[in-house]
């Protein structure tokens, strides 16, 4: 039939146009602006730092790792969860309190030997970590349940838990800082010292087990193979060529670079956790039906419901995921600490939200990308680090960051409007 044929040819035509537009679209300022902004700021600091009285090379490996590690705990790790929650159409103000509560729970469990019955110190460490993550996850679950079953706006629910979780943290800590210490040196056995591989002056700490690092060589090799597998998966799933190309490119690059890396060079566990969390969230949100449904629920709850999606599940699970991220942030943080303050990370939820907003997540739900929020978190901490290296006064730092948050949100709104008026979305 004539009509049908023209219709089909028409689709094929537009199909080709779409494929080539896909690439241009993804690299457009509107879509990739955050990455350009990050590159720009890094370039500015690299120049700035090399011109002062005692010039340094800003992009040296130690400084890069330093920035990423500062960003990771707790802001970047929690920002990944927050992005998923914002995509699903909700909001969590309680993240910093929840993460502090998780960290404090671990500290107290370790100090008071709650898991002593397990026999070995290793088992105790693992149990304490799982316990901390569980506390955070339950904190998130409570937020999600109250929001869904009571039908309260998530802003109000988590404004309440922001205060309540902090209060609980103060309560269990009896208002004082708590050492994350299994035992003092005087109580340590031969086995403990052997286990540690050394003697410490202060005793046996949580961080003696979960701190430390992993060979960069192994990590790059693993990540490279992971990215290649992801690309293969995308090929089978029939995805657009751009993400597939990027994933296989990164994979090959990772494997190649790994051969040139000194075997001794190491990377902290914190980064491993951050990268794993990021890659998994990116894959789930971008390439699975779980992700699609989360976007659907945040984009139009009624439509998602009418389509038969279990909207209760897809509303509550993102809260649980943010809680899980809070627990994870607590565990990675505790690896480096000898004690936990009850007012740990006070007010840090605003940084998490700022990272997501700079990354272009909409507070209305239904849109946002975890990768971009990660870039947002890096951008924030790059700024802070660059300001510190170049001795910018704190007041100016705060003003700059405040302006940045509003300006980036404004840039997204304007870019959307411009694209819409050109009919390009």
């Amino acid at each position: 039939m004539d009509v049908r044929q023209t219709a089909e040819t028409k689709y094929e035509d537009t199909g080709v146009v779409v494929a080539s537009q896909d690439i241009r679209e993804s690299l457009s300022f509107r879509n990739a602006g955050i990455y350009y902004a990050l590159m720009f700021i890094v370039a500015v600091f690299t120049y700035w730092s090399s011109t002062g009285e005692n010039p340094i090379f800003y992009l040296n490996a130690a400084n890069v790792e330093n920035v990423i590690e500062q960003a990771a705990t707790p802001v970047a790790i929690i920002a990944i969860g927050m992005t998923v929650l914002l995509i699903s159409g909700n909001f969590d103000l309680s993240v910093a309190s929840n993460a502090a509560m998780s960290a404090m729970s671990i500290a107290i469990a370790v100090r008071d030997d709650w898991f002593g019955f397990l026999g070995s110190v290793q088992a105790e460490v693992i149990a304490a970590m799982i316990f901390g993550i569980l506390v955070g996850t339950i904190g998130g679950l409570i937020n999600g349940m109250v929001h869904w079953f009571v039908g309260l706006n998530s802003f109000i629910v988590t404004l309440g838990s922001l205060t309540a979780y902090r209060g609980l943290t103060l309560l269990i800590a009896s208002d004082a800082s708590v050492d994350v210490r299994f035992r003092d040196l005087s109580q340590m056995t031969e086995e403990d010292i052997e286990l540690l591989g050394r003697e410490t002056e202060e005793g046996l700490f949580m961080g003696d087990f979960i701190g430390g690092s992993l060979g960069v060589y192994n990590l790059l090799l693993l990540a490279g193979i992971g990215f290649l597998l992801a690309a293969a998966g995308m090929y089978i799933a029939g995805h657009a060529r751009l993400p597939m190309g990027i994933a296989s490119g990164v994979g090959v690059l990772g494997i190649l670079v790994s051969f040139f890396v000194d075997y001794e060079t190491a990377i902290s566990h914190k980064l491993v956790v951050l990268v794993l969390l990021l890659v998994i969230s990116w894959a789930v949100m971008g390439f699975t039906s779980y992700g699609r449904r989360t976007y659907a629920v945040g984009g139009n709850l009624e439509a998602a419901k009418a389509a038969g999606i279990n909207v209760a599940l897809y509303t509550i699970m993102p809260f649980v995921f943010v809680g899980f991220c809070c627990g994870l942030a607590a565990v990675t943080y505790i690896a480096e600490q000898k004690n936990i303050e009850p007012n740990l990370w006070f007010g840090r939820e605003l940084w998490v939200l700022a990272a997501a907003i700079i990354g272009g997540v909409s507070l209305n739900g239904g849109s946002g990308k975890v990768m971009k929020s990660m870039a947002g978190a890096l951008l924030l901490y790059t700024l802070l680090n660059g300001f510190q290296i170049n001795r910018v006064p704190t007041a100016i730092q705060d003003i700059s960051i405040g302006v940045l948050v509003v300006a980036s949100a404004a840039a997204y709104v304007l870019a959307e409007r411009r694209a819409a008026s050109k009919g390009r979305i």
């Binding site: 390439f287 699975t288 039906s289 419901k305 999606i309």
Partner: protein, 264 residues
């Protein structure tokens, strides 16, 4: 995967859905009072009435959005209660809601497959995006619906009429048994309306049982085999065989009524 090319083998005379004495209260508002009618394969049943008569409420009850306050829905001889819209969709009942229920941030293909994605790798549920786009594109061109920009165009950028076309195409794409259409042509232009009406006829000829809500009596007269008239939540009339749009209007306004206590 179900497409419209599959035909349903059912005794064409037997109703696929029977609505029996369905009532619905929203607090003090009684939106439906003991309404009964049948929906039959290969026939188009009209549901007409003034604004607020209860038509959309009826559609939402059949599609599992609302639970009826009393009464029952019989699907192929078995009393059924859909706890949620997913169960109705699983029973091959598709709905075009008056509010369309599309996700604006999604493209056409994503809206088509929302909640029923094609995936692989078992529980990993990796989207088969390419396949979903191709299938959606095939269905769109087969239905003769014109969506400029193809199936990767985002709904947010579309006009009201184009959105309506997407919603109808989605329902036609999935449904083989029952199609509930709540004012499907309300926002459409002349050409698109004609297209949708002929699409409805095609689907009827393929054996779908269709419930059509419309305020356009000409369309109702032309397309519907039976018409149920709702007036203030009650079934005030039933027309079948030879009837005109004017007959429907008389029932809608209350000039004629099957209800004996109707205050005129």
């Amino acid at each position: 995967m179900q497409t419209t090319s599959e035909t349903v083998t059912l005794d064409p005379a037997a109703p696929v859905l029977q609505i029996r004495d369905v009532s619905k209260n929203f607090g003090a508002v009684q939106a439906l009072k003991s309404v009964s009618f049948d929906i039959t394969p290969g026939r188009i049943t009209g549901l007409v009435g003034d604004n607020g008569a209860g038509k959309s409420t009826m559609v939402k009850i059949i599609s599992g959005v609302h639970a009826p306050s009393s009464g029952e829905i019989v699907l192929e001889g078995r009393p059924t209660l859909f706890a949620n819209p997913g169960e109705a969709r699983a029973a091959k009942i598709e709905t075009v809601f008056q509010t369309l229920e599309l996700v604006e941030e999604f493209d056409v293909a994503e809206n088509f497959y929302m909640g029923q994605e094609l995936t692989r790798f078992g529980i990993l549920r990796a989207n088969r995006t390419g396949e979903m786009r191709a299938e959606a594109a095939k269905a769109v061109s087969k239905l003769g619906i014109n969506i400029p920009g193809g199936v990767t165009r985002r709904v947010r950028t579309m006009s009201g009429g184009q959105r309506q076309a997407v919603a109808i195409a989605r329902a036609a794409f999935w449904s083989t048994k029952v199609l509930l259409l709540d004012e499907p042509t309300a926002a459409l232009g002349v050409r698109e309306t004609a297209q949708v009406l002929s699409l409805i006829e095609t689907l009827r000829d393929q054996g779908a049982a269709i419930l059509l809500i419309s305020h356009n009596m000409k369309d109702v007269e032309r397309l519907c085999n039976d018409v149920v008239v709702l007036r203030q939540g009650r079934r005030s009339g039933f027309l079948t065989g030879d009837f005109t749009g004017q007959d429907c209007v008389s029932y809608i306004t209350g000039a004629i009524s099957d209800l004996d206590d109707e205050e005129l």
